[in-house]
Structures are given as C-alpha cells and as structure tokens.
Amino acid sequence: MQDTRPTTKTFTIALLGNPNCGKSSVFNQLTGLRQKVGNFPGVTVDKKVGQTLLPNQSAVTLVDFPGTYSFYPTSIDERIVVQSLCNPQDINYPDGILYIADVTKLEKHLLLLTQLRDLGLPIILALNMADVAQKEGLEVDAKKLSRQLNVSVVKISGRTGEGMGLLKEELQQMVDQRASYIAPQPLFKMTEVERDAAEAAKEIVPEANTYQGLLIAHHYEWLPFLSEAQRKLLADVAKQNGFESLRAQVDETMQRFDKFTPIVRSAIRTQSQGGESTTTEKLDNILTHRVFGPLIFFVLMLLVFQAIFAWATYPMDMIESFFGYTGEWIKSNLPEGWATDLLTDGIIAGLGGILVFIPQIAILFLLISLLEEVGYMARAAYMFDNVMRSFGLNGRSIVALVSGGACAIPAIMSTRTIGNWKERLITILVTPFISCSARIPVYIVLIGFVVPPETIWGIFGLQGLAFMGLYLLGIIAALFAAWVFKLILNTHERSFLMLELPEYRVPVLRNVGLTVWEKVRSFVVEAGQIILVISIVLWFLASYGPSADMAQARSEALATAEAQNLSEMETKNLIASRRIEASYAGHLGKAIEPVIEPLGYDWKIGIALVTSFAAREVFVGTMATIYSIGSEQDEYSVRDRMAVERNPITGEKVYTPATALSLLLFYVFAMQCMSTLAVVKRETKSWKWPIVQFVFMTALAYLAAWGAYAWLS
C-alpha cells in the first residue's frame, strides 16, 4: 500500500456501514452544512461529500458511501462500494475508513467491518447508538473488542452527538499515524483455490492486495475498470482452478461469522432476555396489519397530499405575486424595449416558475423524510411490494405515485430510495401520468364544455364525477405504462425485497432539515437552469415574430380599436392578441394546425399547446391572451369567452363537447411540463429518458384525443 499521497489532496475517509446503522446521522454530525451531493461516476447513485474539522484544525474529507451489508452486492448502490474499494486506482479510493455499526445489532453489523479490515486500509470502528444501548442495558467492552478485532473502537451516538469529540481525535490519530491503523493480519483465511484466483487478479490491478484480488476475481464480470481481455483472463483462471464464486462467497461469510461471533459475545453483556414484545412489534401489530396497515397508509398519504395542496398554496401565492409585482415594477420603471421584456417576461417569469415549486418540494420532503427517519417507509414498501411488483414497480414506488397527485417534480425526486434501477426508472417514467395540481385549472376550464352542471342521485355533481374520472384515467395510464415498460426494459439486476424493517425511532430533526435543504437546493440549481432556458425560449417565441408581421398586427389592431372606439384596456388586449397571432408561437400554432386538426383543434389552441409546454396551467393564461380578454382574468371568464367562439369559415362553435373532451384527454396524458422533463433529465443523468417519456406520453395523448374527437363528432 502506498503511504505517501500528494499533499495537495486532503485525507479522504470513506464512511461505511450497513443500512440503518445511523450512518447519515453521523455524517451530518461530522459535516453539518459543509456537505454537497455529487455522483459516483457513470451511475445515478448519490455521493455525499463533506468536510470535517479535526481538533488540530486540519480538514479531512468524508465520503458517505451507500449502506451495504457485504462485499457481495445486490444493487447498484452496493456495487459502488465494491468497485471503489477493490481498486486502489479508483478516484473514490479512500485514505482511510470510518465504519459505523449499530451497537445493538453488533452480531450482524461486523461482517462488513471484517471485510473492510482485510483491504489493508486504516480503519476505525464507531459503535453507534450508544444512547440506545445504555437504555436497553447493553454493555460493550470496547477495549476487549478493539484488542480482539485489531481495530480501534470508539463509542458514539449520531443522534445525541455523544462521543463526537473522541471520534474526531481518533480520526486525527489515524491521519497522523496511518500505518498503525492498518490491521496487521487479514481475518479471513483463503483456501488454495481462492488464493490462486486472487493472486492472478492482483497482477492486473496495480497496488491491490490479496483480498482486493479476491474481490476482483469474484466480480470481474461487472467491474468497470477491467478490459475485455482481462475479464477473459480471469474467467479462464477461475475455470482452471475450479473457483466457484457463489460457493466461495458463502464459505467466506460463514468463516467470518464463525470468527467474530465469539468475539462479540465475549465483549457484550446484555440484560434483556429477548423474546418479549418490543415497542416496535406492538406498533407494527397495527401499522402493518393486513387490513389496518394499508388503510393507515392511505390516511397518511391523504394528509401528505392535503399538506402539499393546502399549506403550499400560501407561500406559492406569495412567490407568484412577488414575481408578478417585481415584473410590473420593472416594466413601469425601466424604458420599454426588448431588454426589459426579456428581464420581466423571460427571466423573472422563469425564475418565478422555478421558485414557485419550492414550497411543494419542501413540504413533501419534510413529511417523507420524517416518515423515513421514523422507520415507516420500509413498512409501506413491505405492504405494497406485491401489488407494485406486478406492474414492474417496487413497494417504494407507491410514495412517488401518491405524491405525484400534488406535483410530479418532488415525486420523481423521491424515487431515489428505490434500489433497483429498472424499478426506479419505471416509477420516474410513469409518475407524470398522475394528474397533478397544475392540471386542475385546465380541467376546470374545459370540463364544463363536456359535462353539464347537473346532479345525479341527489348528491353527486356530474362535473365532480368527471373530475374524478380524469384522475382515475391518469392512474390507469400510469399502471398500464408501467406494465408495458416492465415488458420492454431489460435488466441484469435481480430484484430483491429482503428489506430490513428498522426499529421505530424518534426522528432526528437535523437529518430531516438537511434532507429538505438538499432537495430544494438541487432542484433550484440543477433543474432550475433548464427551466430558465426553456422559459426564455418560450418568451421569445411568444413575443417575437417576423418583423413585418408583427408591425402589421399592431397597426391593424390599432386601426380596429379606433374604428370600434375601444377603451385603452381593450385596445391593449387586442394588440396582445394580434401580436401573439403574428409571433413565432403563432406561426408555430398555425404550422401544427394540420397535425392537430384531426383532434378538433384550431391554430389558437395550437398556440396554447405550444406555450403550455412551460407548465400546463399556462394554457388558461394563453387562452386569455389569444381571446384578448387580458391575462389577469380567472378561469371562469376564460370559459365564458371560449363558449362563444365560432369557426370563422363554418360558423360552428369551436368548443364542442368533442373538442373539449379531446383537449381534456390530451392534458390528462401529455407531458406538458418542462420542469418535469428537466427533473427527469437530472434524475436519470441523460436526455434519453425525458425524450422517451415525452414521446410516449404525447403519442398516447394524441391517440386518446383523436379517438375521443372522432367518436363524438
């Protein structure tokens, strides 16, 4: 192992541990807000990196690796750990390891520790949940454990912050005397066959030790840093020696357990007898009950949904009016011209369009991370796994699907808890089918053209039922699309549930706060950039056109206004209406008219389809501008105006039930939301999936709209 590293690079410590060991609490304790989220190269696994100050004021870098049970991975998350640690050339290869173990479950949390210990890296074992151990009357002889495992041991609590000072001192010692923290002897004794395979693999990777060689021999099929020739070589070696990976894995695991179990037993003294029902078991008797469990889940989700819907309204209104007023103020205080328009209608409107989602994102993640911290989410995943799996989804997808009813953006961001990439991708792809709150204004405007405001059976408003029908349609589309993707997409990853259900715990508010902060920040910074650019492009399309057309539109509008003796307000609205017709967006609307004609739409609706790509609710505002009733009007005045619109050639009404139903269906299915596409791009790390999503959703929307129009007209 090389001991001298370039001094320009700070000492990097990998934070590792089993899932539910309380690793992120420790990470947050050590780094606070000095953390940022990046990615492991080539995959969509989040990599949290933070700085921590040691007692001597020097800084070390902490990298939070995904929770892992062993070096024999089940998911992409866990593979990251193996690929970063078995290759000393990897950019994430650390200088040392901080291993977090739940002290109340030491018998199973030490497996990975013993594997890490054999890598030849300096390592510290932190026994987490010292506070819980004390409460349960569990005593650990840290010295004995340290001596027998040959690893230095610190007792801490990530929840209370207990022992953090000691831990930092220990980390400083590790930085200063790196070599003395490396275990002298590997714990695991390889067989002859294993050793041969390991030695062969070790030759390929410079500076790897024998255990790293063994890991490479186990995982050569997928390790990304190997070439095809090297893979073939390793396959041949395995064949010649009769090295069977799966069998060797099991034997290694058994040998390790056999070695450390007696050590743990001798170092631990417990007063609890086991067998009695714990609080967790009692709570789960109700919360995961076969009947009450799902009911409680739906009530909880209803509350979450309600919170996003209701609580977010106030801050959202405030943000919207703030940007509205700022825009107005700038317009009236700066000279008229394209620069002012760009600033107000492009940039400020775009910024407003980004920031307006913050309340929903913050509230959703506040509640979701509370449920996650408490330990409830694992239960939800357990209860719905079977239902979701029949559609190619995962138990955890249910959370995203339900929150998609408020807004697809936070919902898609919440899919990161799904380990299996295929299941996560399908969840991301189908969540926008769930009718979100932005569709409501569109539904309100259009539903009246299709369904009369009548009541049946005394209580049910027909329009309300139709409203519910549109929501149901979205849910059906989401499940159907998921089922289709399940058949199309391939994966080599095997899907497992095998989910640990952690004990219920009081949430650590610091962790919740940091999660909310991180989600909001990453939305604003990453998705926000894309939204801003698209919104500027849309502004340009709607405000500019061939200059001759635009000038003509203006003079014609003025002439009409003078002839008809219109008021100042009416004149302004008329000019806006004629200008949008002459703009590039208007040209675009007319250009797509042949395509949308079979759906029963004219070019005016075409313009609204183009502009409402920014966000669905823009449909209403655009309609208002086109029909020159001023964009400040509410949904109902827009509807009244649309009701009298007639086709100039045939003289027939434009908004017949057929056209309106066709438009409704279009908005149920179509991916009319640039922000969602931006988030999908961010979450899938490629433009491929947002494009796929846009194409199939629009295609489905087109077919449904066309079918409805053809059937009704």
């Binding site: 049970y69 062993s70 024999y72 089940t74 109340t104 479950k105 018998e107 199973k108 497996l111 799966l246 069998r247 894995q249 099991v250 695991t253 058994m254 357990f257 086991g274 967790t280 078991e281 789960d284 995961t288 009950h289 076969r290 009947v291 469990g293 799902p294 694992a378 995943a381 357990y382 209860m383 719905f384 796994d385 079977n386 239902v387 799996r389 095997r494 497992f496 549930l497 095998m498 989910l499 640990e500 259900l501 952690p502």
Partner: protein, 79 residues
C-alpha cells in the same frame, strides 16, 4: 431450542407465529444475501405476519425484523 417436529420445511410453510431454527438455504443466491444481512444457519426465525396483498411476509430474525418476498422466505429451510 425445544425439539418439536424434527422435519425440514421451508419458512413459508410454518404456521404464523411459530419460531424455528434455520438449517440451510435452498437457493444459494438468496441464501448468500440473507447471510450477509445476518440470517445464518442457527438463527431463530418466526413469521410474524403475511403481507396485506400477499406475496410476502414480515419475519423476526433473532433480534431484528425483515420483510421477505415469498420466494425469499421459501429459500429458508428450518430444522
């Protein structure tokens, strides 16, 4: 461990609420994952309840809890 019926049977076949001791796993792939999670030959396991929509179960293993799919539970053989 009280010896009751000494017959090997998969975990999913045991009546809900009865505890048993893991003998081995009949799917080595699932078995190796389960072992990494701390389910070992010799561990005490008990099916606490079946999941609401079928296809899985809630299992207590020594001092922790696991949610398992049916095929995962099937691979655990009790003695």
């Amino acid at each position: 461990m009280v010896a009751t019926v000494q017959q090997e049977q998969p975990l999913s076949a045991t009546p809900r609420g009865t505890a048993g001791t893991v003998s081995h796993f009949n799917d080595p792939n699932i078995g190796s994952k389960l072992m990494a999670m701390g389910v070992l030959p010799g561990s005490r396991v008990r099916v606490v309840r079946k999941s609401p929509f079928g296809g899985g179960c809630y299992v207590k293993v020594d001092n922790f809890f696991l949610a398992l799919r049916k095929e995962e539970a099937d691979s655990i053989v009790l003695k």
